[in-house]
């Protein structure tokens, strides 16, 4: 009785076997390139996020379970590039934050992934909005302001997309609060 169940389904089992094997072969040839793509996506941004750092000199590091990049140039370490994510207006937003070595000042921000409303929310990826973060203090909480930013830690919200702008600032604050201690500790350890 048992074998006739399998007898009927031998085609499915055979297909399962050879398709599984075929996919594994495809996986091993392509997985290298995919991992490289993901890495390149971040490493390409390092020179822009931390001025002066070069792609080749920067190294990857692992600090309390999170992947972190040391933005370096031949002379020495200039700063860090850390990644963070959170809930935006419509869906998750993934960011890259560049800070100086002592994690006192934010040197640059880049939006890796977002699905905000086109035409409104997705203007957070434009230079105009992101350049405001360069030079703002890392210790103090970033605040979104609707009417002209005066203090260093105030950021002009994009008209019509306050929730997205607030989300970006909130993610940066959380990421910095979480990572600041460990980054400085790693630097002192050297």
């Amino acid at each position: 009785m048992r074998n006739n169940y399998l007898a009927q389904a031998w085609l499915v089992i055979l297909l399962g076997l050879c398709f599984g094997g075929m996919l594994a072969a495809v996986e091993s040839t392509l997985s290298g390139r995919i991992a490289q793509n993901r890495l390149d996506e971040t490493v390409d941004q390092i020179p822009k996020l931390v001025p002066g750092a070069t792609r080749e000199a920067s190294t990857q590091d692992e600090i309390d379970g999170e992947r972190v990049f040391r933005a370096e140039n031949p002379a020495g370490q200039l700063g860090w590039v850390i990644s963070g994510g959170g809930q935006g207006f419509a869906d998750r937003i993934e960011l890259l934050v560049g800070v100086d070595a002592r994690v006192r000042e934010i040197t640059g921000v880049y939006v890796l992934e977002q699905k905000e409303t086109p035409g409104l929310g997705n203007r957070i990826t434009e230079e105009g909005f992101l350049s405001q973060f360069a030079g703002s203090p890392a210790e103090k909480e970033l605040v979104v302001v609707k009417t002209g930013a005066r203090a260093a830690n105030e950021i002009d919200a994009i008209t019509g997309a306050t929730i997205s702008s607030e989300a970006v600032c909130r993610i940066i604050n959380q990421t910095l609060k979480r990572m600041r201690g460990d980054l400085v500790a790693a630097l002192d350890k050297e």
Binding site: L30, P118, G119
Partner: protein, 215 residues
């Protein structure tokens, strides 16, 4: 053409390979006439590039799946055939997904979950069931290529309307003058529904006008 069809094993009841190829493009266009494969149509036609990548993916998967299914059509058991179809389609879709992630990483991120959704695309499973599991390899291949070209044309028509009106560009190149206020709704979900609805009405009107309503 005809003698090849008759020699194709069981009596070839359906149209020959050439007819199936032409049918797939306009008369039996998968989206406008058969209403199949609507999920990706609405989702990826925000711009021309994602639409054309999706067409390429569907073409590759449909051709390979049709060929494999028509090769093993003799061994299919009636109650397990859906399982076999989905297995073959899923394998080729994974290959397309990995290929996109490796060589066109930006596009793969932009398409997101809609590449694996090709597996449950009603178009591919229905072509496998209707055509591939009964016809010879040549007919199945012609049918697959015809259907995917039809699918591509339909996607292109929707995507160009939505991209030109929604973001003023076509394939990324600026088409409308910068002063033109972009209709953001076109890139959002409601725009997709309304554009497809109106285009479908246009096609029905055009087809009815050409031949009087034959009953």
């Amino acid at each position: 053409m005809t003698e090849a069809a008759t020699a194709a094993g069981p009596v070839d009841s359906g149209p020959t390979a050439g007819e199936r190829f032409i049918n797939g493009i306009l008369p039996e266009n998968p989206i406008y006439r058969q209403l199949l494969g609507m999920c990706p149509t609405l989702a990826v036609t925000g711009g021309m590039q994602p639409a054309m990548t999706m067409t390429g993916g569907v073409l590759f998967v449909l051709v390979c799946a049709n060929v494999i299914v028509s090769l093993i059509r003799g061994l299919l058991k009636p109650h397990l055939r859906i399982l076999v179809f989905t297995l073959t389609i899923a394998t080729f879709v994974t290959i397309v997904d990995r290929f996109l992630a490796a060589y066109m990483y930006q596009m793969s991120k932009q398409l997101g979950p809609y590449v694996p959704l090709i597996i449950v695309n009603c178009l591919i499973i229905s072509r496998c069931e209707v055509c591939a599991s009964k016809q010879s390899v040549r007919v199945a291949l012609a049918d697959a290529v015809g259907q995917s070209i039809g699918f591509g044309l339909a996607l292109a028509s929707i995507a160009s309307v939505r991209e030109i009106l929604g973001s003023g560009t076509w394939f990324g190149m600026r088409v409308l003058p910068a002063a033109w206020p972009e209709w953001v709704i076109m890139v959002l979900p409601p725009g997709a529904f309304i554009t497809l609805g109106l285009l479908m009405g246009l096609v029905n009107w055009y087809v009815d006008r050409r031949q009087p309503s034959r009953r």
